[in-house]
């Protein structure tokens, strides 16, 4: 003891000890704190993480953030183009958008829209608009922003073929599209950890059989399987049942990769000295797995989950786009993109592609986030 005290005293004196306090912070830091410090240094991942958080907040409070209900339509304003929001009028904070005027093309008699700068649509924050029930429970009619006069047109990202607000529908869609990713990953994670854990811990013949099975399954092309399975979903099913069926179908493919990761982690850990020491301490199997092994690779698992959510989101979008996934009246980004299947539509009403932009942003953000998490996952190098 005395030697150590002398050392510490000497070390303190020698270094003038300004660093000591921050060092202690590092020394008592658990792995999650170390990971957070490392993650914070990864700028792109922080940016991605913020974006992901933002999108999930949008999805959770969709009713509040969306100016309208996703079913609200106005047949006067079919295919109205996006409006630009202005915040100041006459030097005062008073948001507004310009109204529309429409003309008939003299040759094709098609309706074409133009922004009419003479008509001003006043907006209001925390506006009372369409009534809704938040999460189906709390009745309210407050929206973040909306037109003061409910009949006025307000289409930030334009309107679709029924005169519904694309912006509102994108926000509601986030709820479906983003949770499909989460639920799907949760299911594939559960199956993956179970199968991978059994494979890695039991080993032997069982491990061999499971691995060969996974190899066979993984070699089947994904898209045809999805299509076949999705096509089997009966048309009479309710939207909710279809939703869960689709997530299940998506996760059927995801679990195999997860199982392999978990198995390899268990196999590698079995050889670790500290695991052998724990075994010699007499740590029982259950505690060994939960207390000693899983914490060692949980961070890796979280990182790989984050990286597998985009696949799920893209899968859902693809299925719904092809009409095999979710069906109206449920909205998801894929469902919304069904409207863009005709080239002519894209050429004339390009704002219908905004759901695709949302998909791209979310997928990129999740990838950035996952990258950062993966780098931070092992803070002990």
């Amino acid at each position: 003891m005395t030697i150590n005290e002398i050392d510490l005293a000497l070390a303190n004196r020698a270094s003038g000890s300004p660093a000591i306090e921050s060092d202690v912070r590092v020394e008592v830091a658990s792995q999650w704190q170390l990971m957070w410090w490392k993650f914070k240094r990864h700028k792109l991942a922080m940016f991605g993480g913020t974006l992901v958080l933002f999108f999930y907040l949008l999805a959770i409070f969709a009713e509040f953030f969306a100016p309208f209900q996703f079913t609200t339509y106005n047949d006067q304003y079919v295919y109205a183009p996006p409006q630009m929001i202005h915040f100041f009028r006459d030097g005062k904070l008073s948001p507004y958008v310009y109204g529309y005027k429409f003309e008939r093309d003299p040759i094709s008699y098609k309706k074409t829209w133009a922004i009419d700068e003479s008509v001003i649509v006043p907006l209001r924050f925390f506006n009372r608009g369409d009534p809704y029930k938040l999460w189906g429970l709390i009745p309210s009619d407050v929206h973040l922003v909306g037109p003061v006069n409910a009949k006025d047109p307000f289409y930030l990202l334009g309107a679709d073929k029924s005169g519904r607000d694309v912006f509102s529908r994108i926000i509601y869609s986030a709820r479906v599209s983003l949770t499909v990713g989460l639920v799907g990953v949760a299911i594939s994670l559960t199956i993956g950890i179970l199968v991978g854990g059994v494979s890695g811990l039991v080993g032997g013949v069982l491990d061999n059989v499971i691995q060969r099975l996974i190899e066979v399954l993984i070699s089947i092309p994904t898209l045809p399987v999805w299509l076949a399975l999705a096509a089997m979903v009966p048309l009479s099913w309710s939207a909710l049942r279809v939703y869960f069926m689709i997530t299940l179908i998506l996760s059927l493919v995801g679990w195999m990769g997860m199982a392999r990761v978990v198995r390899s982690k268990f196999l590698a850990l079995r050889e670790e000295d500290f695991i052998m020491l724990a075994r010699l301490d007499g740590v029982p199997m259950g505690r060994m797995i939960t207390r000693h092994m899983i914490p060692s690779f949980l961070s890796h698992i979280i990182a790989s989950i984050t990286l597998s959510i985009p696949g799920m989101i893209l899968g859902e979008t693809a299925l719904s786009f092809l009409g095999l996934g979710l069906r109206p009246p449920v909205v998801s980004w894929g469902v919304m993109l069904q409207d863009t299947q005709k080239v002519a539509v894209i050429a004339i009403y390009p704002w219908l592609l905004f759901p695709a932009v949302a998909v791209i942003i979310v997928v990129l953000a999740l990838n950035f986030l996952g990258d950062g998490l993966r780098d931070a996952a092992d803070p002990y190098q």
Binding site: I3, I6, D7, L10, A11, R13, A14, S15, G16, A19
Partner: protein, 347 residues
């Protein structure tokens, strides 16, 4: 350190710093030594003393974020019979053509773990032949001849079979031999050996040391031998540089270092090793441990652990003092002027 024309490499006041997120680490902080033709300089020290970094600097292969910030590494290249040409390696571009013509040709290096420098993808023979063909004008057949000769030379049995083997098929000792064969294939004037026997068993270690000493005689090459094992030092060294936290704290010939060490660190180090010849008795220890490189103590970096530390040691950084022509020590015990100047300042 007397200059004579036998000098192969002169390192003067070499400083290598590592620029990390947490701060700058002075891994090597003003190191000076000579390596002479046909002699072995042993660099000995504990982990983090900067011995490996110094060795890597001689080839300009310091890992990032390390950088040579100051100092000279003068290599005397033999040009013809009586002519030498001086190159300052520390000023060369790490990716330039000059240093590349030196690496593997005039200075070659062997490592603790041969697998780090032998590619698992190519046969042993292929790799040695490539080194030969890179630096000489030998054609394929000549290179193969030379490779076989080298493999036989380093004591590899059945070289004509081993030449077509992949490195992972060889045992640790055989791999290290193959490494040495590769390092010597172009007749270098300096061989840097970074802990070449640390991963090997004693009997294999003895074989490799014998081999290196035999080869040194035949080739008249200088060897910079890095190790933490004082037993190995006593076996191979002509001169010894003892390093601590980026400084050479003592430099002398091997007898002086072992029989008449002057620096307290050298003295303690020698007393703290268990000896195979002595029965059990309490070992003398150096108290504490090597400080973190981020917390380099002020003054003499050894003072918090030094059994002979004086109050002045925490304030003044010692300079290298010549005790005799071939014995330098970096300690305030031998530096009256520095101690006096502090005393005057205090008064």
């Amino acid at each position: 350190m007397a200059d004579n024309n036998n000098t192969l490499v002169q390192v003067r006041d070499l400083k290598i710093h590592f620029f990390t997120n947490e701060g700058t680490v002075q891994a090597v902080d003003g190191v000076t030594f000579d390596i002479r033709n046909g002699q072995t300089l042993c660099m000995v020290g504990e982990s983090g003393c900067g011995k490996s970094v110094t060795a890597r600097a001689l080839l300009q292969i310091v890992h990032r974020p390390g950088k040579i910030v100051d100092g000279d590494i003068i290599l005397y290249r033999k040009r013809s019979h009586n002519q030498t040409e001086e190159v300052n390696i520390s000023k060369l571009e790490p990716k330039g053509s000059v240093i590349r013509s030196i690496r593997g040709k005039e200075i070659s290096m062997i490592f603790q773990e041969p697998m780090t420098s032998l590619s698992p993808m190519y046969t042993v023979g292929n790799q040695i032949m490539e080194t030969i063909r890179l630096h000489t004008k030998a054609d394929k057949n000549q290179a193969r001849e030379r490779t076989l000769e080298m493999l036989k030379f380093v004591g590899i049995p059945r070289p004509e079979r081993i030449i077509d083997e992949y490195p992972f098929r060889l045992s640790g000792g055989m791999r290290q031999r193959a490494m040495i064969a590769m390092a010597l294939s172009c007749n270098p004037s300096l061989l840097i050996a970074d802990e070449p026997t640390t991963a090997l068993d004693v009997t294999t270690q003895a074989q490799i040391i014998d081999l290196m000493q035999g080869l040194q005689k035949d080739y008249d090459m200088g060897i910079l031998f890095i190790t933490h094992d004082l037993g190995v030092v006593a076996e191979v060294a002509d001169n010894v540089a003892v390093m601590y936290l980026g400084n050479v704290v003592e430099y002398s010939d091997v007898r002086t270092i072992f029989h008449d060490p002057q620096h307290p660190y050298t003295q303690s180090l020698l007393r703290s090793i268990p000896k195979v010849t002595a029965t059990r008795e309490k070992l003398e220890v150096i108290r504490g441990m090597v400080p973190s490189p981020f917390r380099r103590p002020s003054g003499c970096p050894f003072h918090p652990r030094c059994p002979k530390a004086m109050p002045v040691c925490s304030q003044v950084e010692p300079h290298t003092i010549d005790l005799t022509e071939n014995h330098q020590v970096r300690c305030l015990l031998y530096d009256k002027s520095a101690r006096n100047s502090v005393r005057e300042m205090a008064q």
